[in-house]
């Protein structure tokens, strides 16, 4: 019962909601760069929302399924196929034993990340309560690293072949309505709230930060997005002691080029913080590609949290509506 890696793709790693509770030990949280797509992919295959999924970056792997499996793809709106059969994105799909999953980027809506979930999850050992791959510390996921050719990824639950037809019928009749504000659409405008050191930057820097676009440089990765655009200047040099950071903290090192801290960020940092990306826009940010541009707009903390709570509510409604998938699958799996 496993998936064979025919080709690994550029960077394919297992990720869940991250390694929490250990930041006080200096252990990064990690987890899916796009938390919304992680959750959606899991709900579509009847998993708990936090189960580990495969995070696929830019170039997708080719994966040979040795058993029937119920899978879902969420995130980048790619062209995916099981051998020659098209696989719709954001829907559960039954892939047959012996079929290979092929994926092509959708050139008209390119996005950086795609998530593959399988019903019952991948069989991975949890390391410090999480299956997320920490590449830097070689921790968790599949042997603490990205997928390589010839890897065999075990999956947790076998599907009895006699259920193939019933499930296929069930999936084809399934109506799935996805609310608009789950953060799945492509967008280049990113909302932020003012950071702790906002007032230490010059007035002109404030204007430039909000009025001019920034390019995501190719040095951007899971730890942080390094941006290039207006040089951000402090009113005067600022010495600060290292302090906690979070997903979306925008730090400004002495060269004036901002860095947005992403999933694999360090737990603390000593650079001035000009702003924080709001949680509701992190999924959008995670989908932007190297060399694409983004621009920032300000909202208040209250607005950011209202957006976050609204997102949570939409997900709860969706989770209830998709509960029948879990129900139906539990009848078909051993």
């Amino acid at each position: 019962m496993s998936i064979q890696v025919i080709s690994p793709g550029l960077l394919s790693t297992f990720q869940d909601e991250g390694r929490h509770r250990f930041q006080s030990l200096g252990v990064p949280v990690g987890g899916a760069m796009n938390p919304s797509s992680l959750r959606l992919a899991n709900l579509l295959v009847g998993n708990p929302p936090s189960a580990a999924v495969l995070e696929i970056t830019l170039t997708a792997p080719n994966l040979l399924f040795e058993e029937d499996a119920c899978i879902a793809l969420s995130g980048a709106p790619v062209h995916a196929f099981a051998n020659d059969t098209p696989i719709p994105v954001n829907r559960p799909f039954l892939i047959h034993a012996g079929q290979t999953l092929h994926i092509r980027q959708n050139a008209s809506v390119p996005m950086a990340r795609l998530y593959l979930a399988t019903h019952g999850g991948f069989r991975l050992p949890a390391m410090m309560d999480s299956c997320s791959t920490d590449l830097k510390n070689r921790l968790g996921g599949y042997q603490g690293r990205a997928l390589q050719k010839y890897d065999h990824i075990p999956i947790s639950k076998p599907l009895a072949p006699r259920h193939r037809q019933t499930l296929q019928d069930f999936f084809s009749q399934l109506e799935i309505y996805l609310p608009a504000n789950l953060g799945l659409q492509k967008k280049n405008s990113i909302r932020v709230i003012k950071g702790h050191h906002w007032n230490h930057f010059t007035r002109q820097t404030h204007e430039r930060f909000l009025d001019t676009p920034f390019r995501i440089t190719p040095q951007s990765e899971r730890m942080g997005y390094r941006l290039q655009g207006a040089t951000l200047l402090l009113c005067q040099p600022l010495q600060i002691l290292s302090e906690p950071t979070t997903f979306g903290t925008i730090q400004v090192p002495p060269d004036g080029n901002p860095i947005i801290l992403m999933a694999d960020r360090q737990t603390t940092g000593g650079y001035p913080k000009i702003a924080n990306v709001i949680s509701a826009d992190l999924p959008v940010l995670a989908q932007l590609l190297p060399n694409e541009h983004l621009s920032f707009s300000l909202v208040t903390l209250e607005q950011a949290q209202a957006l976050m709570l609204d997102r949570e509510e939409k997900f709860m409604v969706l989770q209830n509506r998709l509960a029948m998938i879990a129900q139906r699958l539990s009848e078909c799996y051993l």
Binding site: Q23, L25, G26, V29, K194, N199, L241, P244, T268, L309
Partner: protein, 246 residues
Amino acid sequence: MSPTPVPQKSWQFTPEGDACIIIRFRQEDLDLQVSQLCLQAAQSIANANLPGISDIVPAFNCVGIHYRAACWGKTPFHNLCQALDSLLAQPSSPSGTAPDRTIEIPVCYDPEYGMDLESLASTLKCDIEQLIALHTSQTVRVFMLGFAPGMPYMGLLDTKMNVPRLTTPRPVIAAGSVAIANRQTVIYPRASPGGWHIIGRTPITLFNPERTPHTLLSPGDTVRFKAISKKTFTELKSKRHEHPGY
């Protein structure tokens, strides 16, 4: 106006994005007492088991509280600040804090490992032996862990050991490297880039995800360094030395 801090006694709350609060005790220099306040606050918040708190991260002069906004009503920041404020206003019970412990860490101060010993000695106008004596004769406290899993920031070192960081960080520093800067000392748990002055290397492991506790040191621990020979270093290293008690 930048994010509105809630004005309070000796601490204030500032938002770090929409899912983290930083409790700030003072915005000045490194101070052992302020660090102690941070650790006490972190401990009493941990003991209170508030809902939706995923991480409590003590730092030099502040504590980060990472939270799930969905657990804190319609105005999560405000509500959590109120809960934290009343917690901090209570006197902390000594039973709730971790017992003091002193941990001895063997360090080989051979110039092969301590590649900056010579230049430091000349900068600080002393000889290498004096430098080693300064580093081993005092105890230091662990302020916080950060940068890498299990990496301790410790201090304060003698004022004679006050040097700024390197202007250009090194791209790779060996695991176990012991380094100093700004009256602090650190140990790099794994090979990583770094901008501190390297004075030696320890053979012991600081982080092991498969053991409990996962790290040798915890914030608040007292540390004393012990000079060891190159031979002892190699012996301890070949045994994949774990610290006794870890």
